[in-house]
Symmetry: C2
Subunit: 421 residues, 2 copies
């Protein structure tokens, strides 16, 4: 598919850099809101449909406020993310707590906030009961194992640490029922960054059939099915965006057949997408520091893998635009690097780009999810600022850059003279 | 080789956890000091020998103070690391600044501190001169390209972003000389985590021969050769520690033959090891939160990949001990996981260990380099504390754990109500 036009020009970025030096992440409100609305609209046939934004993708309160205004909930996976939700003023069914290998403190905070609790393991029923008490509504995460193929990023479900087996689901809901739990949900998530819409339709079929069977055998009813996240985005130009209308229609047909057809109670559908919601609407903007020619040609940026780990961590492709040179021939072969003493610190290897010079502005696309949030401080690198391009064209800072003082906050240099060696 | 005995018992760790909850990194001063002294002793034949600790491996001022007391310098690669050195009170030839894709501010700080400047690229001569002025002493980083094979972690030198080609070295030193630079150094680093001692001897041979040729052709003399880091450590029991005496002897023979034999001025040898110096003497200590049985058996720790990225990032092996069960049969097959919503969050896959229960203390070995320092905050995970087991048996905290407040420091939640959506 044709790559969408950048929401900003070189001239606009030049003005922005007067106040905010590169590198920075910039998010585009308009695109994000339009996509989020499209998602909601695609599933408007389902009463109670809710998208829980996977906050790990871009844990920024300003982005979350925009999404919340579109009726999005928040998908949290840790104590810190629950506290983030709390600081946003969120509570109850606005929060889905999907964790694994969970601590007592995490369950206690989730219960305190009234979050929907999604258990990852059958042993967590007792653990939760003991540590925080069982809530009225409980959800289990299902791992279909060999029933379902995974994909490259998440691997095969039977090798994945997440979720209950099928047998454990039957045992688990039975235990919940005996313990007086009255309301039930079910969740699965077996892929990440998946572009085939049929994949999500098949996942819904597995879940709906399981709900029908569980409901009948255990005489319980389900309030919701969380179909997970995992909706991919077209990182490469040849990728096709997941067709939400097509996917929704496929899921609706199965819903009518399996849920309505079996006389089951209406089921709310939830998703917990992160990547699809903010990924394509965030850009990493960087300045070329150096061009280097040795055995290969290198573009050296002022951004490094600490701003975007995906290329180094997963070998992931991210499209790159040299601002103001969009019309030029891409006839130069470059490795695009950062400045870490870590040989993986490359945004692209053997990428054809127009001839590039120090001072050029470079945009790395699709950095709006798992970008800033995965950044580390290796080599003493400081994480950069996050900006938001508002619908009215205004640019606001929604996270300041880290300072050296932030970086040294956990170290006590003052006590060093008293440390005898 | 037989794995060295842990420097602490289960009982000692139990006492430590009364003050410092798991997970934490604990470093062992005794082992670290003994190894550092062994390194210095192996090269005592070389007048001016100096090991520059690659601070990225474990950027802790207390560890650096111990090493500095053993005459170690500091190898810095970024502005933050230079500021770290400054806060330690280090300056001049105590600091080697080996960067790449360098900013003006970094060169300015390095010059301000009087650090030895190691240039990564021929274009940096002009850049440094313009931005900070040329110092009296300049070093170049050599990338031997196809002359030398790399290894798995660093890849092939000709695909690596670092250093000058051979031709560029001849041009570069000539330019330096013309610009009035009087003192010269040379550096190379073509492997990481290498266990073959002959590899370092061969590297020395390449560098010594190059020095002889450069000295003759350009009529300059070299003060030092920095042979880089890259000395591996025996992560696996079948690995053999690099024999420093053997390596030093091989390098000495070549030194006598090529440097002394050609009537060249005495050459100081430098190394910039990180991993070898602290890696084996740091341990990640964690508590088992959950045992999970689905398609596989899982040990769920309270540590996650944010405490030690190497298994997830490189598929690296780290030995694991269940404290107090060292004598038991390793007859249970486990995946050892953390709690991130990230399927790579595993410390070990299909590892045979003794039967393990919630509450057991687990030690992950060789976490003293590229452990804490590579940690990120993905999923809102907070980086843990660093402790030091002193030679006298005392345990001191040398870095406090991150708090949720640290984590949110760059976000302004207070301005959120005024943010209109």
């Amino acid at each position: 598919m044709k790559r969408k036009k950048l929401p900003f020009s070189k001239e606009q970025i030049n003005i922005i850099t007067e106040n905010y030096p590169t590198p920075f992440h910039i998010y585009e409100e308009k695109g994000m809101v339009e996509y989020a609305e499209k998602f909601n609209n695609a599933f408007s046939w389902n009463q109670g449909f809710k998208e829980y934004y996977a906050i790990k993708a871009a844990p920024n309160p300003y982005l979350m406020k925009i999404l919340r205004n579109l009726d999005f909930g928040i998908d949290c996976s840790s104590l810190t993310e629950l506290v983030f939700a709390e600081k946003m003023g969120m509570s109850g069914a606005e929060i889905m707590f999907t964790s694994n290998d969970t601590t007592a403190a995490e369950f206690q905070k989730a219960i305190e906030l009234g979050a929907i609790i999604n258990l990852d393991d059958i042993s967590h029923i007792d653990f939760l009961e003991k540590q925080a008490g069982l809530p009225e509504l409980v959800c289990f995460r299902y791992n279909p194992g060999a029933l379902k193929d995974g994909n490259i990023i998440i691997g095969n479900p039977e090798d994945s640490k997440y979720g209950f087996t099928r047998e454990q689901l039957f045992d688990g809901y039975k235990i919940l029922k005996e313990k007086g739990v009255k309301r039930f949900g079910i969740h699965t998530m077996v892929a990440s960054n998946e572009l085939d819409p049929d994949y999500f339709v098949e996942t819904a079929e597995i879940i709906f059939e399981l709900i029908a069977e569980l409901s009948e055998k255990l005489d319980i009813s389900f309030e919701f099915a969380n179909l997970g996240g995992g909706i991919g985005i077209p990182y490469k130009s040849e990728h096709k965006q997941v067709d939400l209308e097509y996917m929704s229609k496929g899921i609706k047909n199965l819903y009518n057949k399996i849920i309505t057809g079996n006389g089951l109670k209406p089921l709310k559908l939830f998703f917990e997408s992160g990547r699809a919601i903010t990924g394509p609407f965030g850009y990493l903007v960087s300045t070329v520091l150096h061009i280097k020619e040795t055995y290969k040609k290198y573009i050296g940026l002022d951004a490094s893998m600490h701003n975007l780990m995906r290329p180094a961590l997963y070998g992931a492709y991210h499209h790159i635009t040299v601002l103001g040179k969009e019309g030029k021939d891409c006839n130069q072969l470059y490795d695009v690097t950062g400045s870490l003493c870590e040989n993986n610190d490359k945004f692209a290897i053997n990428r054809l780009l127009p001839e590039t010079k120090p001072g050029d502005l470079v945009v790395i696309h699709d950095a709006g999810a798992h970008g800033h949030s995965m950044g580390f401080n290796y080599n003493g690198k400081l994480r950069s600022a996050e900006l938001l391009l508002r619908k009215n064209g205004e640019v606001v800072q929604i996270r300041r850059a880290e300072t050296i003082e932030d970086h040294f906050a956990t170290l006590d240099f003052n006590a060093l003279p008293d440390f005898e060696v």
